[in-house]
Amino acid sequence: MANNVSHITDYKVLARVVLILMSLTLLTIFVTSFHLGAFSVTVALLIAGVKAFFILTYFMHLKYESLLLRLLVTMIFVLYAVIILITFIDYAYR
């Protein structure tokens, strides 16, 4: 309820995060403009992953949430990754 002291994120932190996110966006555009084939896919997705991490941690306050919730979020991403991997056991060997 209202009496649980919830964390108030500083405006500065948010501004800094958004700057990081924007520079990462520009970085992706820059890197992928070189047509590096499979490499550019990996890099682009990795950067997207980092961006997602920032959004989850700071914008969505995961940093200040209970361990349980953080574990659950991790679990969802792991589950999803496993589902994709398993599907590709079929597609990769066709």
Binding site: L68, I86, I89, D90, Y91, A92, Y93
Partner: protein, 535 residues
């Protein structure tokens, strides 16, 4: 106990609130009333679906056209499947008994979001309405099978869009219910009740709710893609537009395999409640049972490919899925072992709920172990898409989840209505059901091994004798079910007044009067760290 004297308190059945009459039910926020209105809807839908099952059996009593045309038959098994799966067994136990008893079992006054709960029911009814309407719209009932396999579903002329949309809506309701239950279990437990002090039915509901929450969106998006495909000619699954029909099967089963655990986990939970009560004995292996529910739900996410062994998947995928399928059987086995161990040296009272529980173990073992035959690639090649599969899932869904539902209602009816049914009649009805059920479905195992494909309107003459036996079984079963239901209805309306704790159970629902008061607990319940504390 105060349960016997009616005028000491106002039970949830009498409490009127803001609205009167039927509106006091469909606009209620009380989890118990919502549980009941779900149950009424489900019984009606079950009767419709079951009637269709019976009509199919009559059609199959002889080769060739008996009472209907092939197209009618195809529509019939499709709608039978859709009704039974999406409207009866997936919500089934969890919305009826989960709603009614989950909050009570964990010592809460209600679920976490009562309004959302009511909304889920409305969504559910809307979905049912849409599905029923798809029967009567101009293009005729959908005829794709409940699996909606592309590309047939993208090209057939029948009402597929409507039916898939209905399934989408029902899925939405299922997600909301799951969400509600998870939050309820996390946030609403009575002070002092830790996770490992919860009765095991709550654990089962918890595992189920996660599966509902995480698997359903996948089928949601799949059905949306199917609708887009039909409306806009986007060819995700249609090979002539560049799509991939096998991808549809992947997406469909990524949901629909976990969905079978949505059906069975609450059933396993119910049985786990009933056995200790009727043996007057602490459940054996509490932790093993609790964790095996989570294990089934978890591993259950990864085995979907066993429905596609003959679809032309890569060989690697075939062995991998077969391997995982076998692993998922182990936690189910653990539960059965623990149940048997609980019965050891108990003081067994052979009342109808316990009879249903025992027959559940029998039927679930048959259904489950034939699941192993399906999970093994070599044997699945022979019996995939045959009557064997039909027998497997009727055994495990109807024999498992269905019989667990009957067990639950015989167990909890005194609590829900405060009245008792006639024991003798209930026992006789159980006997008829058990015999009819086995007669109906067992022959289909043999038919399947001999090579009788499923979804067959017509068949080769050598299959006829067993088909006849099966149909006769169907008629016996319907007799038993009608007898059972009428006994229950009579009990609920005019039966003897039931005491608060007729079976001498120890879980929280038995500590409050029958029927429960509006907010379940007039004073804060005392939490025993061991929910099954028999002395």
């Amino acid at each position: 106990m105060s349960g016997n004297k009616k005028n000491e308190y106002v039970s949830y059945l009498e409490h009127q609130g803001k609205y009167k009459g039927i509106f006091s039910w469909i606009f209620t926020l009380d989890h118990k009333r919502i549980g009941l209105i779900y149950m009424y809807a489900i019984i009606v839908l079950f009767s419709i679906g079951a009637l269709m099952g019976l009509l199919m059996r009559i059609e199959l009593i002889a080769p060739g056209e008996t009472i209907m045309k092939p197209q009618t038959y195809n529509g019939m098994f499709t709608v039978h499947g859709i009704i039974m799966i999406f409207m009866v067994v997936i919500p089934g136990l969890s919305v009826v008994f989960g709603n009614f008893f989950l909050p009570i079992l964990i010592g809460a006054k209600d679920v976490a979001f009562p309004k959302l709960n009511r909304f889920s029911w409305w969504v559910y009814i809307t979905g049912c309405g849409l599905a029923i309407a798809s029967q009567f719209m101009q293009n005729g009932p959908p005829d794709t099978g409940w699996t909606f396999y592309a590309p047939y579903s993208t090209t057939t002329g029948s009402n597929v869009i409507m039916a898939t949309f209905a399934a989408f809506v029902l899925g939405f309701s299922s997600i909301l219910t799951g969400l509600n239950f998870i939050v309820t279990i996390h946030q609403m437990r009575a002070p002092g009740m830790k996770f490992f002090n919860m009765p095991l039915f709550s654990w089962a509901i918890y595992a189920t709710a996660w599966t509902q929450l995480l698997a359903t969106p996948i089928v949601g998006i799949t059905l949306l893609m199917l609708i887009a495909e039909r409306l806009f000619g986007i060819g995700f699954f249609n090979p002539s537009l560049g799509g991939d029909p096998v991808l549809f099967q992947h997406l469909f089963w990524i949901y629909s395999h976990p969905a079978v655990y949505i059906m069975i986990l609450p059933a396993l939970g119910v049985i786990t409640e009933i056995i200790p009560t009727f043996c007057q004995k602490k459940i054996y292996g509490y932790k093993a049972i609790a964790l095996s529910s989570l294990a089934i739900a978890g591993v259950g996410f990864l085995v979907w490919g066993h429905h596609m062994f003959t679809s032309g998947m890569s060989d690697q995928a075939r062995w991998f899925f077969s391997f995982l399928t076998f692993l998922v059987a182990v936690p189910s086995a653990i539960k059965v072992f623990n149940w048997l161990a609980t019965m050891y040296k108990g003081s067994i009272d052979l009342k109808p709920p316990f009879l249903y529980a025992l027959s559940f173990i029998f039927l679930f073992t048959i259904g489950g172990t034939t699941g192993l035959l399906l999970g093994s690639v070599a044997t699945d090649v022979q019996v995939h898409d045959t009557a064997f599969v039909v027998a497997h899932f009727h055994y495990i869904i109807f024999g498992g989840m269905g019989f667990a539902f009957f067990a639950a209602i015989h167990y909890w009816l005194p609590k829900m209505y405060g009245r008792m049914y006639n024991m003798k009649r209930a026992t006789i009805a159980w006997g008829i059901n058990f015999v009819g059920f086995n007669l109906l479905y067992f022959p289909q195992f043999i038919l399947g091994i001999e090579g009788m494909p499923r979804r067959y309107f017509d068949y080769l003459p050598q299959f006829q004798p067993l088909e006849v036996v099966s149909t006769i079984g169907g008629f016996i079963l319907i007799g038993g079910l009608i007898f059972m239901i009428s006994n229950l209805v009579q009990g609920a309306r005019k039966g003897e007044i039931a005491p608060a704790n007729p079976w001498h159970g120890t879980t929280l629902e038995w500590q409050i009067p029958s029927p429960p008061p509006l907010e379940n607990f007039d004073e804060a319940p005392i939490i025993n760290p061991n929910p099954y504390d028999y002395k």
